[in-house]
Subunit: 186 residues, 2 copies
DNA sequence: TTACACATGTAAAAGGTTACATGATTCG
DNA sequence: CGAATCATGTAACCTTTTACATGTGTAA
């Protein structure tokens, strides 16, 4: 149910094709929603079928033609109605944390390596989000004012990544102590 | 794929029925995984069918009988093999943040009410996690030492909730300023 | 006597992932 | 010459949610 409103929200800001949308998901809303291109295309067809989107075929040269979708009045209505309704809480499902939970089955050195890998991914993520944030603050003041609330999820994304990184760094230190202990004991 | 290993991890600590498992998910791993009872029963049947779980019917009086599942040697092997493999990164999908992202469609006062509702849910969650954390530190020292790594996801859960609450409080303050501005201007 | 906790399931629908399929252009 | 980007799609599969279904014991 939520995917369609993520799509409508993005097309409400600016019309685009399935391909555009997929990239915009990755670039701008990836910290709170993700979807594959197949999901986009399916959702766009459905929304178009229900009269919530208009579709204009745009001929490009040097590139494949694309279908540019934009909200109809009904689409805007549906989005506004949805925004006013209470949203469900996030459901967290993190495979890596299951792994940590069952971590006693793994030698500390191997656990450490896995953690290190995830840590560097999270650092990359944080850097991406901070670049996005910087881009926002380079926009004209009136745009910043107009879009301030849309910008809030990114701020949460940044803080969440920082929290993750702090947690992982502490865990890493503890694993190192564990490994050192083993070496001394063995 | 991950649900089955969450189930195996829990049954590895202590055998139990589908019903038990559902409650243990809610009580002990809810900060990184959730599943309904239907998912449990289906997964238990599958795991049993694949020879990864043993099943013993336990007759109870005053209560319906229950099927108690425990890991077989193959089950333990599968869990160990899985733990050693790299885990996929978490995919975040938070409906409320879509709502915030499209928040300009909503009057600030209404946005504020929604945020307040989510905020109090997150405060409850944090209280639950902190109670769980306190319970952990009341266990005997040897158990704390043995289970320390399984306890780490909870620490992340606590920090993540605190981060969320801080973010929401700042947003709340900003919305209040916005509402005050409107009142003064109107 | 009503509601909640215990206990286990089936079935259908919705949502999401993975693999396959095509074909042009651009960059190294 | 090979890889990446642009652009759209089908099909099969897996996972998750929601609704339905049943029945006992206990506490307010």
């Amino acid at each position: 149910m939520s995917l369609r409103f993520a799509v409508l929200s993005l097309l409400d800001i600016e019309p685009g094709s399935g391909y555009d949308l997929k990239r915009r998901f990755e670039r701008s809303v990836h910290h709170f929603w993700s979807a594959s291109h197949q999901q986009m295309y399916r959702e766009l067809h459905k929304l178009h079928g229900e009269g919530l989107l208009d579709c204009v075929e745009e001929i490009q040269d040097g590139r494949p033609d694309k279908k540019v979708y934009s909200l109809t009045a009904a689409g805007r209505g549906a989005l506004e109605a949805w925004v006013a309704k209470p949203a469900a809480a996030q459901k967290i499902r993190d495979p890596f944390l299951i792994q940590v939970f069952a971590g006693h089955h793994l030698p500390p050195a191997q656990m450490r390596a896995e953690l290190q890998r995830h840590l560097s991914e999270h650092r990359d993520k944080l850097a991406t989000y901070e670049a996005q944030n910087a881009r926002f603050y380079r926009r004209p003041a009136e745009q910043q004012q107009k879009l301030w609330i849309s910008h809030q999820p990114l701020l949460l994304g940044i803080e969440t990544e920082k929290t993750w990184i702090r947690w992982a760094e502490q865990l890493l230190a503890r694993l190192d102590a564990e490994i050192a202990d083993r070496d001394t004991a063995g």
